[in-house]
Amino acid sequence: MVIVKRKDLSLAERLWLPEIGRALSMTLRAIFKPKVTRQYPEEPLPTTAVTRGQPRLRILEDGENLACVSCGLCEAACPAYAITIDGHETERFIEREPEAFEIDMLRCILCGFCEEACPKDAIFMSNELELADFTRAALVYDIDKLKRPTAALTGRMDYFYKVTNRWRNSSSTS
């Protein structure tokens, strides 16, 4: 336990003038200190692989199909009920894909739970941060607006794999 020291004001502190002089000198010195304000729209925010921007769907290496198999796990994991999925069957080797995949960006809180839940590496938090539009409807993103080539998401994927590589010492799977 430490008892905080309540000190009484000294005479110099009681007089107003020295304080005013000190304040002015501090203001003057601040002029020459480096500026810390960020000029935001002109100077964009730096983003890294850690940045959790808006979730985006990954297109497989073949360049056309989504990695998503519409299993619905991300929908179940989403705390904001932002995701709506409608799946259907296909003739491909992976027999399912989403027919409709919508993320309501107005609801999304960028928590990253969908990314964590997805068993197929189909959804990742991109580094896209800016989100503005004129109507609400335009902010409900469909597949066309959500899909991104794998190359755009590799940085995040690598980071994500590194982070979730847990229990390195354990060998059993159950």
């Binding site: 739970f113 979730t164 847990r166």
Partner: protein, 412 residues
């Protein structure tokens, strides 16, 4: 040169009131919910007699979002992002408090390194929250440059958190059983340099304020809460310690391994706004020391696990989910139906505002039966009339600032 101090007796100065030409004319004033000095959407119904507060009634609930009910409908794990939004100046602290309650209920052991990271996160969150207190209270009392200085420091913390969690606020990086990501060396170095520089900054803050005549006059002997009153009104945290009660949950009921850290609990003597300010400033120093100790420990435990290996509650490694059927089943099970054993648990942590407690009751399913949040801010709001009645109206700004609450948490 004249050095006359403006003085008035604490409590209603009736003799002075009788001389006041406006005395006897009661004015009803509704302050807030949109008022910069109420630190959020708090409404204060004030009855004024001249400049003196006759009666004061705080009205809360303008930011009520039904968090407790939301928890009951969302389920255990999905509530984490919502805890961020309780006391939004220290999201990680709320995350950890909630996670600790769930871990207590389920009996999960957090690995050593996970605990150390949690302590580190809690302490820098505390510093960030106290910086907000200092900045906003100072700007309310007229020290505008103080606000910029504290926010400059806070910005550094947020940049570190951004580099660690990917978000500046609302981090959601704590999971049941530990934390989501490990702290790497680069971040450790960044944190260390910040913390070492921060010590000097706290001294600068004190140089700005402690001996400043305006700050001194407006805080000294204003809003005095005695020891007994503080206990009777269930105040916790710096407000209780400012009144001279040595009670800190980190010492009294250690969690996350706080018993292994060396730190002092700052305690005031009088219990006025000035004491609460001094206690918080000292707490920032202590937090810096704890965070540095945690960094030291992290150096030793590098390579350790940060999340408990428990396949009932913790998502399996992603790479294994692709290759093992078992792990895939666990993945599905945990995401869709994470259920905690039957029972109830309460865990209180020492947040920057006081005792932040989570009381959770489970009936063994994936939805909580009850999740109660003991928000320290609510108790702090309740203490406003206690100290503001009978004082000058302008003192109320200092009192509100020094009691330090965040409406997101008060209203939940």
């Amino acid at each position: 040169m004249a050095t006359k101090t403006f003085e008035y007796a604490p409590g209603p100065n009736l003799a002075a009131l009788n001389d006041d030409p406006l005395h006897g004319e009661i004015m009803q004033l509704s302050m807030g919910p949109q008022h910069p000095a109420t630190h959020g959407v708090l409404r204060l119904e004030v009855e004024l007699d001249g400049e003196t507060i006759r009666r004061l009634e705080p009205e809360v609930g303008f930011l009520h979002r039904g968090k407790e009910k939301t928890c009951e409908s969302l389920g255990w794990a999905k509530f984490f992002p919502h805890t961020d939004r309780l006391d939004y100046v220290q999201p990680l602290m709320n995350n950890i408090g909630y996670a600790l309650a769930l871990e207590k209920l389920a009996g999960i052991e957090v690995p050593q390194r996970g605990q150390e990271i949690r302590v580190l996160l809690m302490e820098i969150s505390r510093i960030a929250a106290h910086l907000i207190y200092l900045g906003t209270t100072a700007i309310d009392l007229g020290a505008v440059s103080m606000f910029f200085n504290t926010f400059k420091e806070r910005e550094k913390i947020y940049e570190i958190l951004d580099a660690y969690t990917g978000h500046r606020m609302n981090n959601t990086y704590v999971r049941i059983g530990g934390v989501f990501a490990d702290v790497d060396e680069e971040l450790e170095a960044h944190l260390r340099s910040f913390l070492e520089g921060f010590r000097g900054e706290v001294d600068t803050f004190e140089k700005f304020l402690t001996g400043n005549r305006i700050w001194y006059d407006r805080n000294r002997d204003v809003g005095t809460i005695t020891k007994d009153e503080a206990l009777a009104w269930a105040l916790t945290g710096p407000n209780l310690r400012g009144s001279g009660v040595e009670h800190d949950l980190r010492k009294a009921q250690p969690y996350s391994g706080y018993e292994d850290y060396e730190f002092e609990v700052p305690v005031g003597t009088v219990g006025d706004c000035y004491d609460r300010y001094l206690v918080r400033v000292e707490e920032m120093r202590q937090s810096t020391a704890i965070a540095l100790q945690a960094l030291e420990r992290l150096k030793a435990s590098r390579g350790g696990e940060v999340l408990a290996e428990d396949r009932r509650y913790v998502l399996p490694p992603k790479a294994k989910v692709h290759t093992s059927m078992e792990e895939l089943i666990f993945q599905f099970k945990i995401v869709t139906d994470l259920s905690l054993p039957r029972g109830e648990a309460y865990q209180g942590i020492e947040s920057s505002k006081g005792e932040l407690g989570f009381f959770v009751v489970s009936d063994g399913t994936s939805r909580p039966v009850r999740c109660h949040i003991r928000a320290p801010g609510l108790y702090n709001v309740q203490a406003i009339p206690l100290v503001a009645e009978g004082r000058l109206f302008s003192d109320m700004v200092a009192i509100i600032g020094s009691l330090d609450f965040v409406m997101g948490e008060v209203d939940r």
